[in-house]
Amino acid sequence: MSEWVYQGENLRVVYGRRTVLRVEQLTINAGDLVGIVGPSGAGKSTLLRVLALLEPPTEGVLYFGGRSEPVRWPPPLDLRRRVTMVFQRPLLLTASVFHNVAYGLRARRADNVRARVEQALEMVGLAHMAHAAAHTLSGGELQRVALARALVLEPEVLLLDEPTANLDPYNVSVIEDALKRLRHHNHTTVVLVTHNVFQARRLADRVMFLLDGECVETADAETFFESPKDPRTRAFVRGDMVY
């Protein structure tokens, strides 16, 4: 049996009177790339923020990193630093690309910052732009810098919220290649939220389908796309679900 990174039981997130997330059982194994798919407003980003230890669930228990005791909120810094999240809309500091990518390393007072930043920028094809001002970058370049500043930290878990939304095919391929290389070299656990069913099919080992805040189905990628059990999953995979 694989070692798990996350286990969740009866996770619920409620904003005001609205329940935005309801997941009864959640398991994410170490080294897997889990794709979370679903229409807008399904609770994908909320689940990702809970997994990033940025937001506590209103109810339920979350276990992280194989530890027998559940995560306490606010989580301690050492636990938080094992997870890194790339947001859908990357916000960079008003500084150079190098400074932005080095931010997390400097926050940790890490060694060998220059070499590690250059290596991360190389992975996303932006080594030549290290000294460019962040505000001069295009949308695709911004997203690649956001990925680089997460990759440079070599996290145990990498959470990606729609990292390729609104990007052209070239930028999508650069980001997907970087993810493949990361998994190949570091055996990093990746949770990828995406609208794009084809991307989930290309990259994911396991896929979770969220609808209206509820986890409809979780299965390995082949089963999910070839023989989904739930009729709503079938409709979503076939593209019949209008949202």
Binding site: R80, T84, L93, Y103
Partner: protein, 278 residues
């Protein structure tokens, strides 16, 4: 010196011929064009004299003027440092936090931003006077009235709401998701707060400039709690009031020009500092 200012009679227009000795201001009848022209020339002469005297005072490093400038800078500089030390963290905290009573605190802060300095001076006067709640303590940490310390207290109360209010607005202007993104990169809450403040540095510098502008040009409160004592608590603004009352317009203009120059130089310095961090 002009006829009006020296007390010399001014000749009035034809309708006022029956009272040629009447002074300006005693009648609503308009003075002649010549009289108006003379007064205009006199005002220009006063300004010109003031400019020359300012240049001379600065050139000869007049000890009294230097002493007044030094007290002004000491009072307003200390007050600004204390206001920034209180106002920037307070503004950042109000910008970042959500808690019960925050709205009330923000409303109080906005009230403080518009507080008339002379009212602040009155409160500080009452607090620090011998029969006041703080003055009666005779504690070493309570500044006495008519000292630089009392003036600093009054100026801090005037400036820190401005610094805090503008800092809060600057921090709220930064996308709140940035802080979350930095925390997700492993920054501590303190590191993320500093990074957001750095992003909001333009607004923070503006807050400090606004705070400085409010106290370097303030006269009511420092006059009340400082007393305008020569060689001790006399600052540029109170000296300008005094010299104007005495009729020493040239000296008053000279001091006003020094005050404007100081204000301009401090703003240039802060904008340069801001530019270096950009």
């Amino acid at each position: 010196m002009s006829a009006a200012l020296s007390g010399q009679p001014i000749r009035f227009a034809r309708r006022d011929r029956g009272h040629p000795e009447r002074r300006w201001g005693e009648s609503c009848i308009r003075p002649t064009r010549d009289a108006r022209s003379r007064r205009g020339r006199c005002a220009i002469n006063e300004i010109w004299e003031g400019l020359k005297q300012a240049a001379l005072l600065l050139w000869h490093l007049d000890p009294e003027v230097l002493q007044i400038v030094a007290v002004s800078l000491r009072v307003s500089g200390t007050a600004l440092l204390l206001s920034a030390a209180i106002g920037i963290p307070l503004g950042a905290w109000l910008g970042f936090s959500r808690f019960v009573g925050r709205r009330l605190m923000v409303a109080l802060l906005y009230t403080g931003m518009g507080f008339p300095p002379v009212v602040v001076g009155l409160f500080v006067y009452l607090l620090l006077s011998q029969s006041g709640p703080l003055g009666s303590l005779n504690a070493p940490w309570v500044p006495r009235l008519f000292t630089v310390g009392a003036m600093v207290v009054a100026q801090v109360i005037i400036a820190f709401p401005l610094v805090a209010g503008f800092t809060m607005a600057a921090v709220k202007g930064v996308d709140p998701n940035l802080r979350q993104q930095l925390i997700s990169l492993g920054a501590t809450h303190w590191q993320a707060t500093l990074a957001v403040l750095r992003e909001a540095r333009f607004g923070v510098v503006v807050s400090v400039i606004a705070g400085f502008g409010s106290i370097i040009s303030e006269v009511g409160a420092v006059m009340l709690v400082g007393g305008n004592i020569q060689g001790s608590t006399r600052v540029l603004t109170t000296a300008i009031v005094l010299e104007t009352r005495r009729g020493n317009f040239s000296l008053a203009i000279a001091l006003a020009l020094i005050l404007l120059l100081l204000s301009f130089l401090s703003n240039v310095l802060m904008l340069r500092l801001q530019g270096k961090t950009a």
